[in-house]
């Protein structure tokens, strides 16, 4: 049996008394590709921020790689591409290479410089997303799709065990959306990483997803395989997102 990467046990989180997550329990295993879906305000981003340790739940426990989140120190095993990545300050004078290098800063420690192995990892990450030739370009001068590739390279530069993507395609046009999902497919194929993707469009990742978590007003309405989720359409309790491609080899 694969090891647990993220385990939430009866987690609740309240913003000023208003519940954003209510009694949520999830177990994400190594190699999973989990899609988190739900309406705006359903608690998707709160869930992600709780997993990342940016929010501390008022009740329940969070474990990362089998350890309570407070005791988990190896942050370089987790990478994150946020919604805000697409809406960064495009005037910021920073090159593509500098942005990807930031991904290494957390593990470098406070007083150390980038070594040859860090530079090799930066080059490798940029080559993986086909952006090495743009390394000296200012990030704000690139197209939306290219910027997304750079942020994915930053997330992958540490070869993380868990990659969390919180609606990473917000504000990205259709043409560049395709580019983005191509990179995601390629990463899925070539890495052993566990993926958590918050999305409104399940159809573009149906061949990747192994598990769907549907949040409804902070509560977990569904935590199941893709096939099971597609059949929920017959139930009246939640409105599942339409899934055209139902079952793929290797999905549950």
């Amino acid at each position: 049996m694969t090891t647990s990467v993220v385990k939430l046990d009866h987690v609740s989180y309240y913003y000023d008394g208003t519940p954003a997550l209510k009694d949520v329990s999830i177990d994400i295993r190594q190699g999973d590709f989990v899609a988190i879906v739900g309406e705006n305000g359903s608690g998707k981003s709160t869930l992600i921020r709780t997993i990342l340790g940016l929010l501390t739940p008022q009740s329940g426990t969070v474990e990362l790689f089998g350890r309570p989140i407070a005791q988990f120190k190896d942050k370089s095993r987790i990478s994150y591409v946020s919604q805000k990545a697409a809406s960064f300050n495009s005037g910021f004078p920073v090159t593509v290479e500098e942005v990807v290098a930031m991904g290494r800063y957390g593990r470098l420690g406070l007083f150390k410089r980038l070594k040859m192995e860090d530079k090799a990892a930066i080059q490798n990450a940029l080559e993986t997303v086909n952006m090495w030739q743009f390394r000296h370009r200012k990030i704000g001068d690139l197209s939306g799709g290219q910027q997304q590739r750079v942020f994915i390279a930053r997330a992958m530069v540490n070869q993380p065990d868990l990659l969390i993507l919180d609606e990473p395609t917000v504000g990205v046009d259709q043409k560049h959306l395709r580019d983005f999902y191509e990179v995601l497919h390629m990463l899925r194929e070539h890495t052993t990483c566990t993926f958590v993707l918050v999305t409104h469009d399940l159809n573009v990742v149906t061949d990747l997803v192994t598990k769907v978590v549907h949040l409804d007003r902070g509560q977990m309405a569904c935590n199941c395989g893709l096939k099971e989720y597609s059949e929920l359409g017959q139930l009246a309790s939640i409105k599942p997102y339409p899934v055209k491609v139902l079952v793929h080899e290797g999905t549950t």
Binding site: L54, K84, P93, M102, Y105, G106, L108, D141, R154
Partner: protein, 285 residues
Amino acid sequence: MIAELWTYSFLRYAFIAAVVIGFTAPLIGSFVVVRRMSLIADALSHVTLAGISFSLFLGQYLAFFMDLNPLYMGTLISVLAALGLNWLRGKYVHFQELSIPIMMSAGMGFSAIFISLSRGFSVDLSTLLFGSISAVSQSDIVLIVSVAIITLTVILTFYKQLLFLSFDEEQAKVSGLPSRWLHALFMFVVALVIAVSMRIVGTLLVSSLITLPVAAALRFTSSFKQTILWAIVFGELATIGGLVLAYDLDVAPGGVIVLIAVAILATVMLLEKVMSVRKKEVRHE
């Protein structure tokens, strides 16, 4: 002026102060601008004035403060205000910019009271507001150089972390960087630089020296290191040039320094325009 530098110690002090401030203000200013915190420089400079006027006021009654460099009190109050700004930003999570007018108003309010309570200061008020060549003392130089060393040490040590925090604060937190601690350290250094810079450019113009060289550099640089480097070049041009001109014209250096910085910015923007027109012409050919 160059020949007179060797004759008059006050000119030497002013020159050293200008060179050091021309370096430190744009260096820290590069981070201030990209973090969209430019107005914080204004708030802290006004609070520094309150600290200086408080020290001068106390100097009229207490012997200890009579001999104390008022810039020390200004620096201390500036640092406390920086911490206060941090606290206020936490109190107004959705209206963080409110912390700036609150602190600025408090600074100006205290300044007005201490200035009006005093029976006339030993220093001219205009030197506090617009800077002065003759006002720079030996103890000012010690303070200015010390602040420059602290600033350079902090930037060299935490450059990567501060850059990450400036570009993407949330991601920096997720990566495990001690963001709260780094932000407090950054604010501490900003407060120090602003406090000591006002000796040359004055309270009302400090923020210009922090932001204008960076504004010019931002027009054409693509990496953050380039931005810092060019901002320092422009900062030095403005402070040294401004000091020489102010001495020759016998006017407050703050105004001339800032106008040179504005002229540099205007020149860069003009060159940018000319280059873009030329590029279009080449494309049409």
